[in-house]
């Protein structure tokens, strides 16, 4: 089957980009370990990574599939709480089981699995939200997803075992247990790995014939159906994948913070996701990455303005909608906008394949 460039963007997985990613990884871990970048910069870098997963995953549903989900923060909450509770029960002394269920040192292998389990449970919640999307779209789906966000946050608020509205903590101790075995900046490492994996997976899915079924829903759902796309099935896949990745972002977030409370995953979190997707461009993966970087840095840069920040950021969104409603990249990728990048990355690729 011939490739459809507009649907599936660039054919990558190239040695040059792989090398660039490895170099960046080595640089970040190296600088952190050498103590060149301080804790603050480290945490900003980690939040950038988490926001990349969060916005790229929302882009699957809101960008590629063209639905309008506004409750992405809810899925992040599920992943955050599931992986936090697991991590605390398994690796640390806790109020549920007393002694850790597993030797604390095993966290160095099991930590990513705990994060992934959080993602899987989120994906199940995504499945529940996907079902109403069979019957409805647009504004109605937006309302349903907002409702789902509220339900999840309210539920957590009322589960005393995980601290209710006071929040839940103890995840730092899991990290300490890992550092006791080998002292490495684990969170930077895992966030980096999960970011790369998420991006590669989303890209591969959207490039595949199977994944084109998701974009065809955005273009024209009736046509998708009469072109043999099982639209209900594709919606399930897209929602589960999207919410699963949000859950992974949530798990990582919880472990960076060492503390989670339901208020962190309210409609404001979901709105941040929407801002990043629309800032970057719907259906543009590199747009999501770029906007997550810009947005996170902007939040930090505007921190001195305190509450005024929440006047300035929405204002920017209004300006964006006025002057560039398609977002920074529209539905193109960075390599379409800067052909130079394409020359570096793509030509190597075609000579290989």
């Amino acid at each position: 089957m011939t490739d459809i460039p507009a649907l599936a963007k660039r054919n990558s997985r190239l040695p040059v980009s792989t090398m660039a990613i490895l170099a960046l990884f080595a640089l970040m871990v190296g600088l952190t370990m050498a103590g060149v970048i301080n804790k603050y910069i480290q945490s900003v870098l980690m939040f950038i990574g988490i926001n990349i997963i969060f916005s790229a995953s929302l882009n699957i549903v809101n960008g590629y599939m063209g639905e309008f989900s506004c409750g992405h923060g809810g899925f992040m909450a599920v992943g955050a709480y599931v992986s936090s509770v697991l991590s605390v029960i398994l690796f640390t002394e806790n109020s549920f089981t007393g002694q850790p269920l597993l030797p604390p040192g095993s966290a160095i292998f099991l930590f990513p699995i705990v994060i992934i389990i959080g993602g899987l449970v989120s994906a199940v919640f995504g499945l529940l939200v996907a079902i109403p999307s069979f019957k409805t779209r647009d504004d109605y789906l937006a309302i349903i997803t907002i409702a789902a966000n509220f339900i999840i946050v309210t539920l957590i608020n009322n589960i005393g075992a995980v601290g209710g509205s006071r929040g839940f903590m103890g995840m730092k101790k899991s990290l300490k247990a890992m550092e006791a075995v080998i002292d490495l900046p684990y969170m930077i490492i895992w966030i980096f790995i999960f970011v790369v994996l998420s991006i590669v997976m989303i890209r591969r899915l959207m490039k595949s014939t199977y994944g084109k079924g998701i974009s065809s829903i955005r273009y024209d759902e009736t046509s998708a159906e009469i072109m043999s796309v099982n639209t209900n099935h594709m919606k399930l896949v897209a929602f589960m994948f999207s919410s699963g990745l949000a859950g992974i972002a949530g798990g990582l977030f919880a472990h960076v913070m060492g503390f989670v409370n339901p208020a962190s995953f309210s409609i404001f979190k979901s709105t941040e996701g929407l801002v990043m997707v629309y800032l970057g461009g719907m259906g543009s993966l590199s747009g999501s990455v770029l906007s997550a970087v810009i947005f996170t840095l902007m939040l930090e840069a505007l921190r001195p303005l305190q509450i005024l920040k929440w006047v300035l950021i929405p204002l920017m969104l209004i300006l964006l909608m006025q002057f560039r409603p398609e977002g920074l990249l529209g539905n193109r990728e960075l390599s379409d906008v800067f052909p130079k990048l394409k020359r570096i990355f793509i030509r190597k690729d075609s000579s290989n394949g």
């Binding site: 089957m1 507009a6 649907l7 019957k135 084109k212 024209d220 009736t222 009469i226 043999s228």
Partner: protein, 243 residues
């Protein structure tokens, strides 16, 4: 009998659109369903294609048999996957921001591992509609209305279906393009023994094209027969052929 519709009652948007219609289409036949605006033509085709979107018509009674088996429980994508039928919807519904070639390729979504067959179909489509070949790399929303209609037909053929249904293919087309379109459809019918069901408001063109037809009026079939018979039917003459 390839397709047999039995006493079909369909609701569309809360209103009964079809009050128990029956008709059939044989393999390799070209059949038309003619009727004015609101007669229930589109409801009929959408019911046959089993579209499941919320706004799709809902079958309340009756049955649709394909090769003797009911397809009421079949999903639309299954019909296309099994090459049972392919719909050219009203208003074309092409993927406007994709190129002509991408539209055609996307229609082969379910045809995995049929590379050479797909190539054959593509050659057929491009030979029937040379204009599409010239505009292969053009975004399809920039095509003229007639070319978009050709693309919609081409896309339906690309699914590999042996039975295609067309919803008002002549709508908005200049006469010359309209005749080209029907000529191409006749060629496919002859060359591939393609079964064609065409729904039309333009009774004259439809009856010239099809060998047999049904006249649909406010949700009921009021006349049927060969095209010659229908052409001379007083009611048809009066209502659709301008006296």
């Amino acid at each position: 009998m390839l397709l047999e519709v039995k006493d079909l009652v369909v609701n569309y948007g809360g209103i009964q659109a079809l009050h128990g219609i029956s008709f059939n289409v044989d393999e390799g036949e070209v059949v038309t369903l003619i009727g004015a605006n609101g007669a229930g033509k589109t409801s009929t085709l959408m019911s046959l294609a089993r579209l499941t979107r919320p706004e799709a018509p809902e079958v309340r009674r009756g049955d649709i048999l394909y090769n003797g088996e009911s397809i009421l429980k079949t999903e639309p994508h299954e019909l296309v996957q099994n090459k049972m039928m392919s719909l050219v919807p009203e208003g074309r519904h092409i993927f406007g921001n994709l190129t002509v070639q991408e539209n055609l390729t996307l229609a082969t979504y379910a045809r995995k591992g049929e590379t050479s067959e797909i190539e054959d179909t593509e050659d057929l489509v491009y030979s029937l509609f040379p204009r599409l070949k010239e505009r292969r790399k053009q975004r399809s929303e920039s095509l003229s209305g007639g070319e978009q209609q050709m693309l919609a037909v081409g896309r339906a053929l690309m699914t590999g279906a042996t039975f295609i249904m067309l919803d008002e293919p002549s709508m908005g087309l200049a006469p010359i393009l309209m005749y080209d379109m029907f000529r191409a459809l006749r060629e496919i019918n002859k060359a591939k023994n393609m079964t064609i069901l065409v729904v039309e408001q333009n009774a004259k063109v439809a009856l010239d094209f099809a060998s047999r037809g049904y006249v649909l009026d406010t949700g009921e079939i009021i006349a049927e027969g060969s095209s010659d018979v229908l052409r001379n039917d007083e009611r048809v003459k009066k209502a659709y052929l301008g006296g």
